[in-house]
């Protein structure tokens, strides 16, 4: 027959386990240890509160522009919670909560968005790359790390995050392609929050899903309800298992929503309707999960109340620590640090020039 359907190894599935009305698909309900479930909830809530506090700080001019994560708590944590410590994580710039889960101190976030390069520091032993602001550029690094893991015959995996907008960049397709060709142990987590600043998802691709981008590169792709932490966790766990056992990469599209601003420099009223935001508020990832845990007997109102108090204190602690560091007069000459392993002679001279310049500026200030 001259014309027949070519059979592809994969089809695109959609996974939802706990829906916005709290309905649970018992058959799909993943087996997750209670302590992890409770921790997931705690961190989601903590992420939400942290976001709110940061917005406050930003409005007060205590930190600069930053990208809020409101609405994407489940799609970040459900994914990252399936990793081991020795695994690697390669984030974009909106995955603060995933980074906190991995151990990044919250004060580093505040320092970073407060304008201090020190906030970018990655602690020894945490196998995460720092934030990557150039959209779509970091997934290739994840694939390279995955290829390194293969080369060293380790059983670690790499998880990389990116937005819906990022799937338009050429580098995204190169990353999927390399991962497919070399069967690298990489889990691609697309945070499809429906918007890339003012550009809707429909403008990024004519395709029905982002998950199907995997098919052209010969890897499995799945779309999950990104506001359902159980679904994200289940899909990610499967993908991690596949990668860890040498069965190659997976693309997971978390269908979620950016409930807040793109960054604090953005005004969404220019391009999206309040109604749309309201609709998505009904699908908020936190209340449905909280109800699920309450039903399971893992949470009570009192516990949540206590949690809120603990979280508030924790965040305040991070703010205090960061502001202490910021108040301390940091040496501007540290900007020369970490340019190279060793400062070359020409830069030692420039550093001296800067030192002189800064001391002259101080004198001038005194004269004025």
């Amino acid at each position: 027959m001259p014309r027949s359907e070519i059979e592809l190894p994969y089809r695109i599935e959609y996974l939802s386990i706990l829906d916005e009305n709290g309905n649970l698909d018992k058959e799909l309900e993943p087996d997750i240890p209670d302590d992890i479930l409770v921790k997931l909830h705690r961190e989601m809530l903590s992420g939400r509160r942290f976001d709110e506090r940061m917005l406050n700080l930003q409005r007060q001019g205590r930190i600069g522009t930053f990208p809020p994560i409101k609405g994407q708590e489940a799609s970040q944590l459900g994914a990252v919670a399936t990793l081991k410590n020795s695994d690697w994580m390669v984030p974009a710039f909106r995955e603060a909560l995933a980074e906190f889960w991995r151990g990044k101190p919250r004060e580093n976030f505040i320092l970073f968005y407060g304008g201090y390069d020190e906030g970018g520091a990655v602690e020894e032993g945490r196998n995460d790359l720092p934030v990557a602001i150039p959209v779509g550029s970091q997934m290739l690094h994840a694939v390279g790390i995955g290829m390194g893991i293969q080369y060293r015959r380790k059983d670690d995996v790499v998880m990389t995050f990116f937005g819906d907008g990022a799937t338009s960049e050429g580098d995204f397709h190169e990353a999927l392609n390399f991962a497919g060709v070399f069967q690298a142990p990489v889990i691609f987590i697309c945070q499809n929050n429906q918007w890339a600043i003012s550009v809707p998802r429909s403008r990024q691709t004519h395709a029905k899903t982002l998950a199907q981008k995997a098919l052209a590169h010969g890897l499995p792709g799945i779309q999950v309800d990104g506001n359902d932490v159980l679904a994200v966790y289940a899909a990610a766990r499967e993908a991690v298992e596949r990668a860890r056992t040498g069965k190659g990469p997976t693309l997971i599209e978390c269908f979620t929503y950016r409930m807040s601003l793109h960054t604090t420099a953005d005004d969404p009223k220019k391009y999206r309707s309040e109604d749309e935001v309201k609709e998505w508020e009904k699908r908020d990832p936190i209340p449905r999960f909280q109800a699920y845990l309450t039903q399971k007997g893992l949470l009570t109102d009192e516990v949540v109340e206590q949690l809120e108090a603990d979280i508030a204190q924790e965040i305040q602690g991070a703010i205090d620590r960061a502001e202490k560091l910021m108040a301390r007069e940091v040496d501007p000459l540290d900007m020369f640090n970490h340019t190279f392993a060793e400062l070359p002679p020409s830069l030692i001279l420039q550093r001296q020039e800067a030192e002189l310049d800064l001391s002259l500026r101080k004198e001038e200030d005194r004269h004025d």
Partner: protein
């Protein structure tokens, strides 16, 4: 005449060129409905529609690559790259094709496109949002590199860039977007590319700069005049490349001394080319070594340290005095 910010002046340039010439179309991320993250293309979509003000997918290489095709086909794409720190994705298309198609086709095709992109620091931004990498583009044969320094010349230069038959990279110093207003005539005004401008006359020293650094340069000149009686001649490059050094040479032949100022890193920056030209053409007139006041050769720091990175008025004054002490 109306007093306008640079944002408004740039908007006016595009609006008028689009009214006159249906070949002009705008492409970029968030340029349509949102009007650009700095609002430079504000409301153009409501006047000219989605066909001419195109919100593209998030792909800089895609924006320039397709613009090259449009330009070859006879259109005049004006692309916005949201920040110059994200323009490296365009570099390959620009260097490999936009800059060369005229030559490769031996004159059959040319690529009249404009890449508008905000550059420079001083706005408390995130990483990749403060750099000045004009040297990359100035170093690319076949590409013109323009950087205005105020609302009026921004408007006039953008008009010329849009009309230019060759690719122009147009850096907009974002620190100046709303820093001050200037009278900008409603009627059409353009300004030739490739012509530095004599901003102030003076006999003691020549200060050469461009873009956002023109602000501290002029402040430094005021201070030198008031406090020290030093009268500086000031030249604003406006076009970085191709660089016409006639004015620079004649000025320095008069003053015998020069200071070059830019916020871009020093080594291999535009200042290096300026100094080389001075050595080539005015060596015997120089009475002191030429000084460069520039950014350092380091990764641009986050904003807690950006003041320390950025050349300021005092540093320019100091450099001028040192030049005059010799």
């Amino acid at each position: 005449m109306t007093k306008m910010t640079m944002v408004e002046a740039l908007n006016l340039a595009m609006r008028q060129e689009m009214e006159k010439d249906d070949r002009v179309i705008i492409l970029g991320e968030d340029v349509g409905v949102d009007g650009g993250v700095f609002r430079v293309t504000d409301s153009l979509i409501s006047t000219f529609g989605e066909q001419r003000v195109v919100d593209t997918p998030l792909a800089e290489s895609g924006i320039i690559g397709t613009s090259i095709g449009m330009a070859v086909y006879g259109l005049r794409p004006v692309c916005e790259i949201q920040f110059s720190g994200f323009s490296y994705y365009i570099f390959h298309q620009l260097e490999a094709h936009a800059a060369r198609l005229r030559h490769r086709s031996q004159g059959r095709f040319h690529v009249p496109l404009v890449v508008r992109t905000p550059c420079g620091g001083g706005v408390r931004a995130l990483e990749h949002h403060s750099e000045s990498r004009e040297a990359y583009y100035a170093h690319t044969p076949g590409v013109k590199m323009v950087i205005p320094s105020g609302p009026r010349n921004a408007r006039a230069l953008l008009v010329s860039a849009i009309r230019d038959p060759d690719p122009v990279v147009f850096f907009e110093p974002k620190a100046l977007y709303r820093a001050f207003r200037e009278e900008v005539p409603e009627e059409e005004e353009s300004m030739p590319l490739g012509q530095p401008q004599l901003v102030r006359e003076g006999d003691d020293v020549t200060i050469i700069s461009y873009g956002a650094m023109m602000v501290p340069v002029l402040e430094a000149a005021d201070s030198l005049k008031e406090k020290d009686g030093i009268v500086a001649e000031i030249i604003d490059l406006l076009t970085i490349s191709p660089l016409d050094d006639t004015l620079i040479a004649s000025s320095v032949q008069k003053t015998g001394r020069a200071v070059v100022v830019h916020e871009a890193p020093r080594s291999f920056g535009p200042g290096a080319e300026l100094v080389a030209r001075l050595v080539e053409k005015s060596f015997y007139y120089l009475e002191a070594p030429v000084k460069r006041v520039t950014g350092y050769d380091i990764v641009y720091p986050l904003f807690a340290r950006e003041k320390a990175y950025m050349p300021d008025t005092g540093k320019i004054v100091q450099a001028v005095k040192e030049t005059l002490e010799v």
